[in-house]
Subunit: 494 residues, 2 copies
């Protein structure tokens, strides 16, 4: 077999894993207990469209599906298997799935290497041996694969989004995977694939990353790593992939206590902080320090054009917020250049006079500055050659008093739809992205309507491709990550 | 007059400013337009209990109160005045209030030094002269004083909390003041005084800070500074006050663009970053970098015992969150020491077995670990001599599936009351604080109930004196600020 032929088969195997038409779930209790039944219900809840074949030696029925007594009994071939039986039964189940023609299997069961016990370690070795005979294994001790387009979902994920998008995510940690999937859902990050690979007995960071590097669906890769098996191989692949696509890496366990926590979580070797950080830099990976930063950075890479951003304009939010914006921008290596005099003068023509200013930050000195005024300000500022990206800050809670005075709901008086239209027009006209920041300073129980308003506004802006952040600093940091990546890595604009 | 006598009079003047029984509001339109009418309505809305005397040359009536045609017409003396007339009328109004015996006045009107115009500058000089004749002035160009106990509120603050507490806040920026007042309301920060002093023609950072240093109601001071008038005097006072009470300083405008923004916002001189940071360190002030950090730090100083915290335990939240906790703690100079073997063993006796660990972080490997289990874990870990403070992380959205399975509201199945009782018992038994972290990873529109649940849980924990943060890093950073302050500044435990 030539190398090309091998790659073709390999590719079709991955295709069958992420887009399986026939799935066996080994370990479905007719009473609905356990991971197998939970996963089956989750697949039904998200609306997986293929065939599901539950397996349990006792037979019976669950959720309207016949339970097969063994994998062999399933009619025809299977593409993918989900294994959720006690650890000692896993090798047998895996081997049966391999014989049944499955391209891959995810093993949700725990009780392997992570226990540190001789039995657990031996069972994991058995899995590795079976995998080498020709079945790709995700896990054990994992939450599995999430693939919105095909309808695969993580272990406790009956309500993950079915919208597919440019981001792929890899993690040992199932908890991190599900948290990221949920955060992504409302933050506007659309995944095409997520793999929680747990102990990583077979498929792990390097092989999966290499695959995502070739995967045409994937434009942005995020990873949470506790430890890698083969550091040299991993960094070789990382360097290669990061030269083509942004790879956002959250490396957990770089502190002393973190290494200890990693050991008891996924039994990986943590690694030294300085070495990791320097290698990540050398590979031009984007290092982030926590889940939220990873999410915000993934969002920015998803929605911002692939460019270097240096000069930022900041509009709205009042005097002190403008001052904060400047300080924060500088901390992330961005600048708020003063606008050209003639542009600044033009903006001052539309801004309500007392207290407003337009030197950048642009302070409308009015929390209710109407969309057409803000649009004019942004259109003008966007015409400045030193401005690469514009940030608009809106404190929507200020509309509450207006609404109360008029005796209507805050949603009625808040022009978020018009603001989104205005922002989109600015993006289209100037060719420079607009980023929205919507802080929520009123989180008392009595102001749930403000929270609802912000969520609705977020949805409307995201639908127009405009990223939304809660906090100005988070926005600036994410923008800086995008900018720094493209500054170091001159990639064709996509 | 002796120095003691002067201080007594000075003290009684401040008393009359923060706790006025008779307030004149100069510039109340009978039609309800403008700052004066807005402020009057705000005072009525928060329930100010003293007498209010609106003034407008046209007379009339507003909100059920007689409008006096001049300050002189008001029967008897006034304690405090709120001035909201056009700038050129302010000196006359202020002088009338002084003659009427007011100890102080806040000038909400803009149009002074901040305009940069010769007229504005001259008007501000006039105000200074009148102030020297014996009336303390807040402003101009400010949002005024917030004092929950007396019922004074900021300019657009009809719904600020009436609960008083240990924190005082000073700022030039009105926007920053109102934002902080609102954030404090739900975050659990209780203010006793807040002064937005705007241009600071008379009372400014140094004099106000000195007063707060002596003020027995104030245990924690926060400040937002854009620029100071007399740097030498300010740092002398700061050093003096910070030796007695924590002073949290958010200095805005330390970047190049920030200095420009400061100039157009409050017409102050910004100052050099390195000099500021080094002087703040020398004074043992606590430097924070944005509004949220200032708020979180104020909360921590309000609720945590005045001690050094080095060893932290982290419980709950799952494996990867534990790893993050370790990394973040180390970044802030805190540690998660391994628990003593015998303590760790005892905790493992109560934790659900598979996947759980108790080396610190303590991973219950179960998002629904019941309150009594978590209590046992915390009671034991709190007994470890290397643990000074405990963090409990709860991802409350996990209760949603449970609730859905049972067909009830998520609030019904989430044991936040029991958790709060358990945490309080741990604090009381171990003598070591517990801090709660409640991240919200499910912020879609369909999950408003999770947001509501978190807000309710926050309220219940705060009522027991337990600080609550959204994010682990924020919590650790705030704890580190407290710890570092007391490590540098050995103060008697209060």
């Amino acid at each position: 077999m030539t190398c090309e032929e091998e790659k073709l088969i390999e590719g079709s195997n991955f295709e069958r894993i992420f887009y399986p038409r026939r799935i066996a779930i080994i370990g479905v209790s007719p009473k609905g207990f356990g991971f197998g039944s939970g996963m089956l219900l989750s697949l039904l809840a998200v609306g997986y469209e293929g065939n599901i074949y539950p397996v349990n030696p006792k037979g019976g029925e669950f959720a309207g599906l016949k339970i097969y007594k063994s994998v062999d009994e399933i009619p025809g071939q299977i593409d993918f298997a989900i294994i959720a039986v006690p650890a000692h039964l896993v090798p047998g189940a895996l081997e049966a799935c391999r014989k049944k023609g499955a391209a891959g299997a995810e093993i949700l069961s725990a009780g392997f290497k992570e226990t540190g016990s001789p039995e657990g370690i031996a069972l994991e070795e058995e899995i590795k041996k079976i995998a080498k005979r020709g079945i790709k294994v995700i896990g054990p001790n994992c939450f599995g694969i999430y693939c919105p387009k095909s309808g695969l979902t993580l272990l406790p994920g009956p309500d993950l989004s079915r919208e597919s998008g440019p981001v792929a995510f890899l993690a040992q940690s199932g908890g991190m995977s599900i948290d990221f999937a949920y955060i992504g859902k409302w933050m506007g990050i659309r995944f095409n694939k997520m793999v929680s690979f747990g102990n990583g007995a077979d498929l792990r960071e390097a092989e999966l990353l290499e695959y995502l590097g070739r995967d045409p669906e994937t434009r942005v890769i995020s990873m949470y790593i506790e430890g890698v098996e083969d550091g040299k191989e991993f960094f070789r692949v990382l360097k290669d992939v990061a030269a083509k696509k942004p790879v956002i890496v959250y490396k957990g366990g770089l502190s002393d206590a973190g290494r200890r926590a990693v050991a008891s979580h996924t039994a990986s070797l943590g690694g030294d902080k300085i070495i990791w950080e320097s290698l990540l830099r050398q590979c031009n990976a984007i290092q982030v320090k926590d889940l939220l930063e990873m999410a915000q950075t993934s969002l920015a890479f998803s929605l911002l054009p692939q460019r270097v951003y240096k000069g930022i304009s900041v509009t709205g939010g009042g005097g002190a917020l403008g001052v904060s914006a400047c300080d924060a921008a500088e901390a992330f290596g961005l600048v708020l250049p003063p606008l050209e005099k003639k542009i600044s003068d033009k903006i001052m023509e539309v801004l309500p006079k007392p207290g407003s200013s337009a030197t950048n930050p642009i302070d409308a000195a009015n929390p209710h500055a109407p969309p057409h005024v803000l649009k004019e300000a942004l259109l003008n500022a966007g015409g400045d050659k030193n401005i690469d990206l514009q940030i608009l800050i809106q404190l929507l809670h200020h509309y509450k008093f207006l609404a109360m005075g008029m005796g209507v709901a805050v949603k009625e008086v808040t022009p978020y739809n018009e603001l989104a239209d205005a922002a989109k027009e600015v993006v289209d006209t100037t060719g420079k992205p607009v980023v929205l920041v919507l802080p929520n300073y009123k989180q008392e129980m009595e102001y749930m309507d403000i929270e609802e308003l912000i969520r609705e506004a977020r949805r409307v802006f995201l639908a127009k491709g405009i990223p939304v952040f809660d906090d100005l600093k988070d926005a600036l940091r994410a923008i800086a990550h995008v900018s720094n990546y493209y500054a170091r890595n001159k990639v064709e604009e996509g």
